[in-house]
Symmetry: C3
Subunit: 317 residues, 3 copies
């Protein structure tokens, strides 16, 4: 594997999922693989799960890890070409990425969308600059439009829990939030579910919240949450801001919050969320504290997803 | 040992002190003990000694260490139950603690008191939420009301310097400060001195600065600093804000600052302070720069206290 | 080697350069040298290259590394003696340095000039306080007036590229900038070029930008950039603020920016810069993106410079 930016970079969804689940059983089996290799983890915005799990995963493989919050410990990067840099940016990404590529064997980058300019966000300007200039394999720790480490985690979480011969019904439901959030997690989840193919995948959200069809693909979109959730085996909850009316909050209908009532007609569905989750806004306490929530197990699986990705990149070098 | 929150968690004060002093002689003797174990160090407020010494101690035991300044690198945690999280907090401690518990084998947490609500602070709401939800052993890097790593350090510092058959006289004296500080260090020092029992322990402070009797116990409280310090072998200097008039500064009398004059009637006492110390406010330059100050040796011992604690927790798992 | 603050600390410029270039060929040959030794990296201001390359260098030698952004993760240090600390500083450098010296085997410090008080900056008050109180070898990660890790890097970069019998002509040229920058990099580069002696070293800058003669030494100073650059083999580009009119910007003449036109009469010179560089202010895109720029190779060499320095200090202990 040469990089990890989207599902298109993996040899196959079931294959990479199995590698991850193997590491869950035996975290230290490849401790020599990363010897004398350094992972640089570069954050342009804050992170908890992604940072901590990836750091642990890299150490499980014997890699050195350097964490660098460039926004806080460094300075503002210039992302545009041809600019006269007499303003607030101190260094161009051309230099910053290329220089970091001199120090690290793999670079993991967390970027984010501005949610103002759809074109800029959806061309993945930031992470693509790193890919272009770093000269080393890049692992996305979430980019403007995708969050593949989260989605791989979600695949392995469903995979390890599902042991019936039929395909599970997986429903991704929009839920309310007080801030305008990226579409990265839902885009990515849809992309991976579609690529995986071993699930019946359905999306439900209010009208106007359609995702970029490049990611939602052929998944049925149902605007009635109740109808969509019927018989669901897994309910994947997530807020996102509008793609159509880009970056805007066009629905604040609290009836979309996931409660026990919401889950009534599911097949005793397991409830997933990438976290952090705002309680009693996105999902009610009764669900998060109840037996159907698997959000902690899901977050724990982040380590094995990251370890699978790093190991495949190390093996390819 | 299952956790380290207060003196009540240790098998015995002399026992744990001896383990620490053994590590001081031979820091790397247990380098295999922490193999493939990760310590997560979570800071909700800044720290110098505690962070650096605990990080070094964990590495001496072969542990991986992940430092996470959640206040700066992450986001604000919600600590209250049942809240509709539509405000400034991004994640509930229920999730944050449980998730971090998935990644770490031991979690060390630094919390702090608000100094507004005595009840909230003295029920140790913050660290108790981590204990409740992390599912892994918790080490206090200072909590709202106690600082046990500091106190264990203080025990070993006294223990290694005192070689006479009689008990040393140890006097903890309040000193002035310009800001309202927690009672954690003096509470904890009193708790450990009382539990240790191998010292004659006396407390001196202005009226109105009585500590919670749960911690000061049966230690004599003398409001006349001069009288209290007579014949002292160790003078433990610390400011704290009022427990009675909670979180307030009710005395600014600079005559409580520790100077050479203050120490005149002591038994050439060694002067201790947990640091950081505001010079010429809490303790005069002449004392800190003079032969009686042992504050640097004391700070150096932080490593061995942390190493003893981590090793005992690792051995119990 | 006992410390690394300036060129005066090294056994000899070619010797230390060769040690660095040996590590470039074989980064892990001394992985046992730093076993059970900890490097404390203390930042009083931000850093990218210096931090990342030194961290990687120390790990290549098997050292533990603790990075501490004291300005962000800690608190403000008091640097003046005899002060009544009732203001904004929380801890005196006397304690902070001495305490960190208890935890670390080598301490690397990044300080900076205020650019207000020449006397204070040029007596290197900050780093000298650390040298005085830490009790452990100090490595400068850039101080108020010098940046020796950068200069050693520059020496090895020139050394590895130059394979002709004659001495290369190395010209350091001032270039414009929008902010008032320290003189540390140009002072240090001049000091090392002069000490090295294996180059023909020339300085060019507008009038009023003369460096402290202690550092520029006998190097010819030419105020006409075009004339100075004639036949240059290496062009070292850097902005600095005035030393004479201390800390001020007295020239904003954009004709000093380095373009392809500027380089026309050089000997197809290699262009160097310590980075970060403001594009199209200090150096034009056409140069940085063209074949004469060696700034990325130069930045990559930071690792080997740091590794040489750390190894020499470790060997001397």
């Amino acid at each position: 594997m040469k990089q990890f930016i989207s599902v298109e970079d993996v040899p196959g969804v079931p294959q990479i999922a199995d590698i991850a689940l193997d590491y869950k059983k035996n975290p230290f089996k490849d401790k020599g693989l990363g010897e004398n290799k350094t992972l640089g983890m570069i954050f342009l915005n804050p992170s908890l799960r992604t940072r901590l799990s990836t750091q642990v995963a890299a150490r499980n493989l014997g890699m050195e890890v350097v964490v660098f919050n460039i926004d806080k410990e460094g300075w503002a990067l210039e992302m545009n070409d041809g600019v006269v840099m007499n303003g607030s940016t101190t260094e161009h990404v051309k230099e910053a990425a290329a220089v970091m590529g001199q120090y690290f064997d793999i670079m993991a980058i967390r970027t984010f969308p501005g949610l103002k300019d759809k074109e800029e966000d959806y061309t993945e300007k930031y992470i693509n600059q790193f890919i272009k200039y770093a000269g080393k394999p890049i692992v996305s720790l979430e980019s403007a439009t995708l969050h593949p480490l989260q989605s791989l985690t979600d695949v392995i979480t469903i995979r390890e829990r599902w042991n019936q011969p039929r395909k599970p019904k997986v429903v991704m439901t929009w839920a309310p939030h007080v801030r305008a959030l990226p579409q990265a997690v839902p885009n990515s989840f849809a992309q991976w579910m579609n690529a995986w193919g071993e699930v019946d995948f359905v999306i439900t959200h209010p009208e106007g919240y359609e995702l970029d069809p490049k990611f939602s693909g052929k998944a049925p979109i149902i605007h009635n949450q109740k109808e969509a959730l019927e018989g669901a085996d897994f309910v994947y909850v997530k807020n996102w801001s509008s793609y159509k009316d880009y970056g805007k909050i066009t629905c604040t209908d609290q009836s979309w919050m996931v409660t026990n009532e919401t889950l009534k007609d599911t097949n005793n569905a397991s409830v997933m969320h990438c976290l952090p989750v705002r309680r009693n806004v996105v999902i009610a306490d009764e669900v998060l504290d109840g037996p159907q929530s698997i959000v902690i197990q899901e977050a724990g699986n982040r380590t094995w997803a990251a370890q699978a990705v790093l190991s495949e990149i190390l093996k390819a070098r």
